[in-house]
Amino acid sequence: MAQMNMLEAILSAQKIMLERDDAVMIFGEDVGYFGGVFRATDGLQSQFGTERVFDTPISENGIIATAIGMSVNGIRPVAEIQFADYIYPAFDQIVSEASRLRYRSGGEFSTNITVRTPCGGGIRGGQTHSQSPEGIFTHVSGIKVVMPSTPYDAKGLLISAIESNDPVLFFEPKRLYNGPFYGNPDTPSVGWDSHDKGEVPEGYYSIPLGQADICRSGDAMTIITYGTMVHVVETAVKQTGVDAEIIDLRTLSPIDYDTIINSVNKTGRCLIAHEATKTGGFGAEILSIIQENCFWKLRAPIERVTGWDIPYPHAFEWEYFPGPHRVVDAINRIMEA
């Protein structure tokens, strides 16, 4: 085992897959010589050569389109979209092409592309470097959507994503790249060496897509979350002292029904937390699954703590971000109901 931050874990996964599978090619804006603006591909071009790791034009549409085309010719592409906020020019290629190719061709053609993209706020990124658009893509049939919350999960899930013969959108909460973030921007940052899941095997391992992780077992209530909010929720649970069960979804699509349903049926109380905006967000889908499957076991209304339905404002970042105090208040309301 080694100590890795999330970037190092993501780099390690890509390096291992480049070594294991000659068909893997990695590309995106600034990912080649420079190694990516976040350094997630640092050193890969010098080790594996420009034909396997290279820079692309600033054309997210072109990046994903060419990745799809490559995959039809035996390649296993890993494309980086520099910020999730910039993914929209590729929307048609992701939604209409990658996600439907297997289906529309009767299974004759398929694409295995992995699209890595940093998401989420808390880095003073303003409305163009902070978005969490995962809910836009979970609505699409035919593409898997993943968002890890720790280095250990990031590496194991990314390896699974690259190995998958389906297209996978791999969202990386960039606030977690260098350390867990517990929701208070005024306290000093801590590194991943302070967290159990900063311990990462140096070699190959994988975590299956579609399996949630119960990161804290409890009986009093269930909190379902993913990404940066996993750590914020842990902070809030500690503050309240409530014996909450925390579920980190890790893969949003396909969703792990059993883990969610079993937990809420056990606890009868549920909070859903995500950083993305509320209306039409993925939390609404989780809430519906619970209402459809756990209604008669519920002892309190389900609540959602999310980002507000506004663009991520630069000067009001921490008023936007669903911090621990909002989670604490919701936990208390749900426990008192």
Partner: protein, 421 residues
């Protein structure tokens, strides 16, 4: 000089100083059509550079019109390359079969047997000659009017018919509109239905081929209207950047449903000229001239296979057919427009040429039509015996939830159960 060589009036000549300028086609329904504004250079005008030429040295080819067959069906000019009679006769047969197949399927739509159809009437030479000029191993990223490639590569008509009928033998399993074919066995990529998305995918396919040191190339098609899509520009940009073996074809058939090519910005310059800004060799070709389409496609293929990268080709043609069975062109263009198209009909032109050279005859042609009529009839009869969309024989409905992912996900398992399957 360019004013004279492009295909349409020049926006700069219009002198529009006030208000928003919205291009109009030259003529609308009820008006007398006249294509005299379309400049057709003589066959002798097109120079044929070696395929190794530097793109910047051959930009004139983007503004001219590569032609081989003249008005009297004689072949000439520098682009008149040696093509064996066998290939030309196969080309003629494939074009004819494509047209007759289209007519049959259009009829089947009219009588309610299929839900939709798109003919390629008048554009047969582009698919067929291009297909014959490249290798069958080359990967096609098609548009929706490339059925001629499938026919030329030997796909059985019955397979196309079953796809159009969405029946149990439809290899797309009833998931796609008629004509949105996918034939992996013929290196024919799944037709999307979303426009131009395949153009940039073809470039990616070719990039992979370059890395593999393979000898295959990719070829892709878009319409004049679809050149306005983001994907068109991404394709040219990536093709220019990475120099992969790809041919990027624009079928300028003058119309995108009801919008003339002027609405896609076709009034200022040629579509081929789009490639010049990217430093790509760019050819403008008479798309109704089988010999010219073949020669230009061969030139681009030789170039791609020799490591010189992508070529952009504009095939200048006319969409004789309606956009689709859902379209009525009489609502937006003069009724007789196709009859006055100055570059004629691709089948008639090649036929006349081959009769002139002695390789073909009216007798053979008539016999072929009879053969094809009988063959199409019997194949259609068999196709329909497997089922139609309305009349039973659809694919097994339990397959509806398959192929969304490699393995069915829990949400799909649940929903399939909910549907009672």
């Amino acid at each position: 000089m360019h004013n004279k060589t492009i295909n349409d009036t020049h926006i700069g000549d219009i002198g529009q100083h006030q208000g928003l300028y919205v291009p109009e086609p030259p003529y609308r329904p009820g008006e007398v059509n006249d294509f005299s504004h379309v400049y057709i250079p003589p066959v002798s005008a097109s120079k044929m550079p070696p395929f190794t030429a530097k793109p910047n040295d051959i930009t004139d080819l983007a503004y001219g019109l590569i032609r081989v067959l003249d008005e009297d069906a004689n072949a000439g000019g520098e682009w008149h390359i040696n093509i064996e009679d066998d290939i030309l006769i196969k080309g003629l047969k494939d074009m004819l079969l494509t047209r007759m197949f289209d007519e049959r399927m259009q009829l089947m739509h009219r009588v309610g047997k299929i839900s939709f159809y798109m003919k390629c009437t008048g554009e047969e030479a582009i698919s067929v000659a291009h297909s014959l000029a490249i290798d069958d191993e080359d990967m096609v990223f098609p548009s929706y009017r490339n059925q001629g490639i499938l026919i030329s590569r030997g796909q059985r008509l019955i397979d196309l018919m079953c796809q159009c009928l969405s029946n149990v033998k439809d290899n797309c399993k009833g998931r796609q509109l008629p004509i949105m074919y996918s034939f992996k066995n013929l290196n024919f990529f799944s037709i999307s239905g979303n426009l131009a998305t395949q153009f940039s995918q073809a470039v990616g396919w070719a990039m992979a081929e370059a890395r593999k040191r393979g000898n295959r190339l990719a070829t892709s098609f878009v319409g004049d209207g679809s050149t306005a899509e983001l994907d068109f520009h991404s394709a040219l940009n990536f093709a220019a950047t990475y120099n992969p073996p790809v041919i990027l074809n624009i079928v300028n058939n003058q119309w995108a449903i009801s919008s003339s090519q002027r609405i896609a910005g076709g009034e200022r310059t040629t579509f081929a000229a789009r490639g010049i800004g990217f430093g790509l060799p760019s050819l403008r070709v008479d798309g109704n001239d089988f010999l010219a389409v073949y020669a230009a496609s061969k030139w681009a293929a030789d170039r791609a296979r020799s490591g010189y990268g992508a070529t952009l080709i504009e095939f200048f043609t006319y969409r004789v057919a309606p956009h689709s069975t859902s379209d009525d062109p009489s609502a937006y263009r003069p009724a007789d427009e196709e009859k006055t198209w100055p570059l004629g009909d691709p089948i008639e032109r090649l036929k006349a040429h081959l009769i002139k050279t002695g390789a073909w005859s009216e007798v053979l042609h008539k016999a072929l039509i009879e053969d094809y009529t009988a063959m199409i009839k019997s194949q259609y009869k068999e196709a329909e015996s497997y089922g139609t969309l309305k009349g039973g024989g659809r694919p097994d409905v339990t397959t509806m939830f398959e192929d969304v992912f490699e393995e069915m996900t829990p949400n799909l398992v649940r929903q399939r159960q909910e549907l009672g399957l």
